[in-house]
């Protein structure tokens, strides 16, 4: 009996518990037997504890360097610092699936705890749905890819972590992205519960809006961290490569964005229920698809699909979930069909519909480009690549129209807007947008850039006007001073004004993307000692090479002095690390100097010698605004999702009474 058996036994017990909990909670609600319901609730929390024990066991194995465990041998080594070792938990297939199941069980525990006095009819089915998902992951873990598999003998040392992954960004980015996938399960469970019970009134809408917002924000953070990691580690001067793994993470985010918008129509007008339900189901299915793709390697080649031992299990689960939810939806269709139609094609509602169409268009193009290599290989045997040029060409115009719509949408009133009112409220932003367009065209001579800048100015102006309008009305009605009026305005309409802040975040990100794609300059040069090279407003001088030998790696770098606009701003040292265990895989440490205007980004393209070095130098304008925009976006989500003070207070006092 080794300690690692504790982990395995926890998994088995958790599987049994999850089946019991699922059955118990449905039986309880069917036969109105309250004690069984309490038992099911406890079951959820026990599963959370069991899963935490299982994950803890694996982490313990990593920390104590137990090289008798196959997974520990494959993903860690003695020389790794503790923070990389603990992140090795999700470094491979078994561990990341364990992490998936663990975080889902914890989320289920939180959802059960938070809603113990709410959604009485829905919760048992929510719990049952989550239990089915957990049971699937536990089955995979126990029978197909056991993370606690022991080797017949202990190895002296492990293989270690790929040098590319030895970066602080890698400690936080994958768990965030995986957590994003995981959290789509909760809104999905609420939708399924609402469909099963037929309680399709208003209560489930609130629940799915909150949980969709949570899933969406976690996924946003995950994607932003991924972009940041790619930018700082990969060395091609970019942050988004339209790589299959990135694309599949982008898909649930896109459908989730669509559902976050259409759910507002359900909330306000009780319409588009079928559509919104389908979007939530689709987001969950895409999250499962994403989890599976990241781990199976199906997209790099058709053949690795057959080799992957969990591929068929995932495919089966995916199909069952798809067929099951579709059947449920069709069964309830007569009940949730919209009764009355739209009053007018020019209204907030139809604005959201166009928004959804564009988002689904982007989602489909991304999905299509991602899987087309598989289709081509299956039909013609040819291997093809679908790279960034395709996605930029197809998605670029769609993003542009979406951006314009982001400006028009908030000006549309619910039910109907007269053309005259719309034109009146749009006139100032339109004038500003057009003048920005003309000016940018005159200065840059790049029509795409000019169009995007015009659109950005237009959208920003409409958002600011929306704030101004609300502020003036509030001040007139209450006589509050402006700062107070602003805070009250936002805090009384968090969803609306928080949403606008999210839009401002998107605008800032768009500024960063446009600036860095349209105005990126790059030079790849071979420099001798003492030579200088100019790029943009920078002048770089190669001073000398430097080297350092650590126990696990050798570092070779080049020391450069940097001159910006005639002023010396110090030295930058791009370097390359050669790990003893990964000789074939030198890992680059990129030197980046960031300002609000541009980033100087230096990548060492050859091994430096005392005489010369080859450098790839980028000046990436405005990249900083992507990260600033990301922060603003998260801030906006926090405002939009911040719980009401009074509800928080009442729930606290309620808890105190209990």
């Amino acid at each position: 009996m080794a300690y690692s058996d504790i982990g395995y036994v926890s998994l088995v017990v958790a599987l049994v518990m999850s089946i019991y909990t699922g059955i118990a909670s449905i039986t309880a609600v069917r036969f109105y037997y309250a004690p069984l319901l309490l038992s099911a609730r406890n079951g959820v929390w026990i599963i959370s504890c069991l899963m935490l024990i299982a994950s803890g066991t694996l982490i313990y194995g990593f920390m104590t360097h137990d090289f008798g465990l196959r997974y520990v041998v494959l993903h860690s080594s003695v020389d790794m610092p503790w923070y990389y070792i603990s992140s090795a938990l999700w470094g491979g297939q078994e561990g990341s699936l364990l992490y998936w199941a663990t975080t889902l069980s914890v989320l289920a525990g939180v959802a059960t705890l938070r809603n113990r006095n709410r959604y009485g009819q829905l919760m048992p089915y929510v719990i049952a749905t989550i239990m089915i998902v957990i049971a699937f992951f536990l089955t995979v873990l126990i029978f197909a890819t056991n993370p606690f598999e022991r080797l017949p003998f202990s190895m002296p040392d492990g293989r270690g972590l790929n040098p590319l992954l030895r970066d602080p960004g890698m400690v936080i980015h994958p768990p965030m992205l995986l957590l994003g996938y995981v959290s789509w399960t909760i809104p999905f469970a609420f939708v399924i519960a609402a469909l099963i019970t037929g309680r399709l009134g208003t209560e489930w809408v609130r629940a799915i809006r909150r949980w969709t917002l949570l899933a969406w924000s976690i996924q946003s953070i995950g994607l932003l961290l991924g972009a940041w990691w790619a930018y700082h580690v990969l060395g091609w001067g970019g942050y988004w490569g339209w790589d299959p793994v990135e694309n599949v993470a982008f898909l649930p985010w896109i459908t989730g964005t669509a559902s976050l918008h259409s759910v507002m129509v359900v909330e306000r007008r009780g319409k588009l229920k079928v559509w919104t339900i389908s979007l939530v189901i689709l987001s969950f299915l895409l999250a499962i698809f994403g989890t599976f793709v990241v781990r199976s390697g199906i997209l790099s080649s058709v053949h690795s699909f057959a080799e992957s031992d969990i591929g068929h299990l995932f495919l089966t689960f995916f199909s069952l979930a798809l067929v099951g939810s579709l059947a449920l939806l069709l069964f309830r269709l007569p009940q949730i069909k919209d009764e009355e139609g739209f009053e007018s094609p020019i209204s907030r509602e139809s604005g959201f519909l166009f928004n959804n169409l564009l988002l689904i268009g982007i989602g489909f193009a991304t999905f299509w480009g991602t899987i087309y290599p598989i289709i081509t290989e299956a039909f013609t045997g040819d291997k093809i690549t679908v790279g960034p040029p395709f996605f930029q060409q197809v998605n670029g115009p769609l993003f542009f129209v979406l951006l314009l719509l982001m400006g028009v949408g908030p000006l549309l009133a619910w039910r109907q807007t007269s053309m005259r009112a719309l034109v009146k409220s749009m006139s100032l932003p339109l004038v500003l947008g057009f003048s920005a367009l003309i000016m940018s065209q005159l200065i840059t001579q790049k029509p795409f850039v000019a169009l995007s800048i015009g659109a950005l100015v237009f959208v920003t102006a409409t958002i600011l006007l929306e704030y101004k309008r609300g502020l003036i009305i509030r001040k007139r009605n209450t006589g509050e001073i402006y700062p107070l009026a602003l805070t009250r305005l936002v805090s009384r309409n968090k969803q609306r004004y928080g949403g606008y802040i999210v839009h401002i975040g998107i605008i800032l990100i768009a500024i960063g993307i446009i600036g860095s794609t349209a105005f990126q300059t790059n030079r790849e040069v071979n420099m001798k000692k003492g030579e200088s090279v100019a790029i943009g407003r920078y002048v770089l001088t190669y001073e000398e090479s430097f080297s350092r030998i650590d126990p696990e790696k050798e570092i070779l770098g080049s020391i450069l002095t940097i001159n910006r606009g005639g002023k010396n701003i110090g030295t930058m040292v791009p370097s390359t690390e050669f790990y003893n265990k990964f000789q074939g895989q030198p890992s680059s440490k990129i030197a980046i100097s960031t300002t609000l205007l541009d980033d100087l980004y230096i990548f060492q393209a050859s091994r430096p010698t005392d005489n010369d070095v080859t450098l790839s130098i980028f000046v990436n304008p405005l990249v900083m605004w992507i990260w600033i925009g990301g922060t603003v976006l998260i801030l906006g989500i926090l405002i939009a999702a911040w719980p009401e003070k009074r509800t928080m207070w009442t729930s606290l006092t309620q808890t105190a009474k209990i």
């Binding site: 739209f342 094609p345 519909l353 268009g361 081509t376 093809i384 007269s418 030079r523 090279v533």
Partner: protein
């Protein structure tokens, strides 16, 4: 208090577009001139020219995932880049260079598959789906007969609707608060 308010409104009404425009134009031109600076060329030779780099960005490194030969540091990619420079210096056109690599390595090296043959489907489906979606959406909106009941919304009706929305909003907030 009252005078302050009228002052504000006055200011707001009389703010000419022009002053806003001037401010905006100054900001945008400042911003654009600073980022679209030309790069001065020093004595050091570039390994590849910007035209060569633009071609290299269209060629996928066959052994790496998601990197073009302009970016990848893999040996294959470096060799292909050297070949590209050689071909380009021999005055081959972009198409000739791309064809050369497709002949050697297959379609896999093109980051943007050809708009012909089987890969035409890649390019046709997304706009197709979008057009179908758009026509369905327009059909849906047109089929909503209710719009005909109020062909021209009178001013009163519009105000009524706005008032109703306001009340709905307040009721909802009151519900949220409790």
């Amino acid at each position: 208090m009252h005078t302050q308010m009228t002052q504000y409104i006055k200011w707001d009404r009389n703010t000419p577009f022009l002053s806003t425009l001037v401010g905006l134009s100054v900001m945008i031109s400042l911003f654009l001139t600073t980022i679209s600076f030309p790069s001065t060329i020093y004595a050091v030779d570039d390994v590849l020219t910007s035209e060569q780099r633009a071609i290299a960005l269209k060629i996928q490194c066959p052994v790496c995932s998601g990197e073009s030969i302009a970016e990848s540091q893999a040996d294959v990619a470096r060799n292909m880049l050297a070949k590209l420079i050689e071909l380009s210096n021999a005055n081959k056109t972009e198409q000739e260079i791309l064809d050369y690599f497709v002949d050697r390595y297959g379609l896999i090296v093109l980051r943007s598959p050809p708009k012909a043959g089987f890969t035409m489907g890649l390019w046709l489906f997304p706009p197709g789906v979008l057009i179908i979606g758009l026509s369905m959406l327009i059909y849906f909106l047109r089929s909503q007969k209710i719009a005909d009941k109020y062909p021209v919304p009178s001013k009163e009706l519009q105000e009524d609707i706005q008032y109703q929305d306001l009340i709905e909003e307040q009721v909802r907030q009151a519900k949220d608060d409790t």
